[in-house]
Symmetry: C2
Subunit: 153 residues, 2 copies
Amino acid sequence: MVQITGGSKADEMIEQFRLRCKEVGLKVTPQRVAIYKALLESREHPSAESVYRTVSNVMPSVSLDTVNRTLLTLAELGVAFVVEGTGDVRRYDAILEDHQHFRCIKCKRILDFHCDEFDNIETPEFLKDKCTVLRSSVYFEGLCNDCQGKESK
Amino acid sequence: MVQITGGSKADEMIEQFRLRCKEVGLKVTPQRVAIYKALLESREHPSAESVYRTVSNVMPSVSLDTVNRTLLTLAELGVAFVVEGTGDVRRYDAILEDHQHFRCIKCKRILDFHCDEFDNIETPEFLKDKCTVLRSSVYFEGLCNDCQGKESK
DNA sequence: CTCTGTGCAAACACTTTGCAGCTAA
DNA sequence: TTAGCTGCAAAGTGTTTGCACAGAG
């Protein structure tokens, strides 16, 4: 849906990425640029493995580890992010009643809360054409009070 | 949709669980009951490891594998579920503009879509007291058309 | 020239699988 | 009795860490 139009827009984003790196004091290595570019061009929320395969085509010497580390770096820089919830161990819930989740990105704790207005999110029509929605939820992410104060990474 | 109302009706829920097992032809083993009970009583969306520790207290002989398998079974039964997105490999996204995600629970693919009304989800006041929300999103889960037809589990 | 970033390999953490003995029905 | 479970151990997958060398600034 969201479209990155044309190649020039991508170039522009890569330029911004370079600036952002310098701003924070990170080196602009060919690997980082290639990985960011691959992520930008991917329309499928790739896993590290998937980005690795793409980057390997243009830079066969790159390692999966570098891809992993770089993607994490990109997320820290704020030029990319981790899709909500992914990367966590599996967690279960026996509460079947409507409720929403807040997840602390530091300690990984999940807080339940409930807000009537979020109970019946309507599935957009165009989504119904593409898939069968079984569950929908509103999801919040951030820092819980316990983790908020602590500066320890 | 199984609707269970009430709060301190753990025994009642366990009874329903027994019935549900029989209904589907699953044996009601002490392990299954203990694991379901532990999950019911936990208020923190536990991981398998966490449930395992709890159950170990009352049944030291259980294995982590059984806990893992049983939790998956509970999710299939519909008496519990996997918290949205958890258990997947980490996935990244370089699109910073507002958009929402649909995730196919079978092939794990993620579809982007965009719906204005979901862009500015307001954080409930009481949540603001408990944590600092950095991101909020509306999330849909189900089967994509490609997986829909296929009966292969 | 210096110090960060990279590639490699080993270590980890979590999950899944195969199998033999056990047990709920 | 017997099909379905469980416990154990091993294998699989994804992620992290430690280290020496390479290359960006």
